[in-house]
Amino acid sequence: MSMHTSLPKLLVICLITGGVAALGALYVSSKNAAPQPAQNKSVSKSFKSIPSTTEPLFIGASSAPITIVEYVDFKCPKCNAYQQDAGQKIRREYVDTGKAKIVLRPYPVFGEDAGLALYGAYCAASQNKFPAYYDAVFAHMSTLYKDGDYSAAAQKVLTKPALVGIAQGAGIEGSLFGACLDGTTHKRAFEAAQHAAARDSVQGTPTIFIGGEKIVGNQPYQIYKTLLELSAHEP
């Protein structure tokens, strides 16, 4: 058999052999992993800033066993898509049932007003209204992102008057919220979140950590669910 005629066959054989080898490796790793669930306790190298109980921006019961850390920007279209789909399902099935809590860490990407809106999250939290504010800002942005038009992401749409209006719609006291937006009360907490993002090697939004596993981008709900279920079964 000459080299000339055998090369494509060789490549096909290589592809098949590679596939079989990959399946074999998967099988071996699944066998090895099964009796050692404690391995799952190991947190990814990229996740370094474990949430503390004092982080102000959280949704759900503070005692929930699983912590989901969300690095988001309210103006980011992919964050919006995540929040409208997988995020909602996670809230319904894990957060509302007390299995998990969401810790938000602001990561402003889309301009100065994105930073202001994220700063406003701390102001809402000081009135114990962070979850309502979180939902209201995302809902507001989704009205601007209709029909796949994301041009609003490049515009200054989350101005102070707009944010006060959104906050009031979420049941937040407007004048207190407005004064808080002008102040620097939460500056340190806001900056601490940015430092945490650097430590966790966050480079874009949305970046979600579940049980220390980093998931970048808006992914199908099943991916988050798989990791949540694994975290739930950790000893």
Partner: protein, 188 residues
């Protein structure tokens, strides 16, 4: 003397069809397209994929299913233009690799029979810098990957890059198609 595109395009299409309808080359194209698409959808999360495959206590079927979710996300979580361009780029990458393999195989054979030398330098030249003569370049898949992954952050730029890479892939395949008649078509 250069021929007009109205003459060369049908020739290229016929030659491409000639190669791609052969089972081994069809399999190469399909395999590369699948892997290329997988690389694009999982590129941002490769550490997670590695962790899931090697460490997490999941069965083999659960691990495969987990990988498959990435592909489903392309259709479910992306806009139609982006998903179409990504799939088109993957298919074109598969066809390009298949054609490149055909040409490379024939050139290697010629090189070996005519000069008795090894074809290794040729392979290295193509793999490292791209094949300028046959229009295949590493720039195209790079652009494609950049376009696909940047979309997670800036979807418009991602789509533009994907569109540019689609054009480059198409041109590259056209050029490769024109190279085929110079090879020994009767041999598979």
């Amino acid at each position: 003397m250069s021929l007009s595109p109205t003459v060369t395009i049908p020739i290229a299409v016929r030659n491409i069809a000639f190669v791609i309808t052969r089972l081994p080359y069809l399999l190469i194209a399909a395999g590369v397209a699948f892997l290329f698409c997988g690389l694009i959808v999982w590129l941002f999360n490769l550490p997670l994929v590695w962790h899931v495959l090697t460490e997490l206590p999941l069965s083999i079927s659960q691990k495969i299913q987990f990988l498959w979710y990435g592909y489903t996300g392309l259709l479910a979580n992306s806009n139609r233009t982006f998903a179409t361009l990504t799939i088109m780029n993957s298919l074109l990458a598969g066809v390009q690799t298949s054609l490149l393999w055909w040409i490379l195989r024939n050139r290697l054979h010629k090189l070996k029979t005519q000069t008795g030398t090894s074809g290794l330098p040729l392979i290295l030249a193509i793999v490292s810098g791209g094949c300028a003569a046959c229009g295949g370049s590493l720039l195209t898949p790079l652009l494609s990957a950049l376009g696909a992954t940047s979309s997670a952050l800036i979807s418009t730029i991602g789509q533009v890059l994907l569109f540019v890479s689609t054009l480059l892939f198409t041109y590259s395949i056209y050029r490769l198609g024109l190279q085929i008649p110079r090879q020994e078509k009767h041999e598979s």
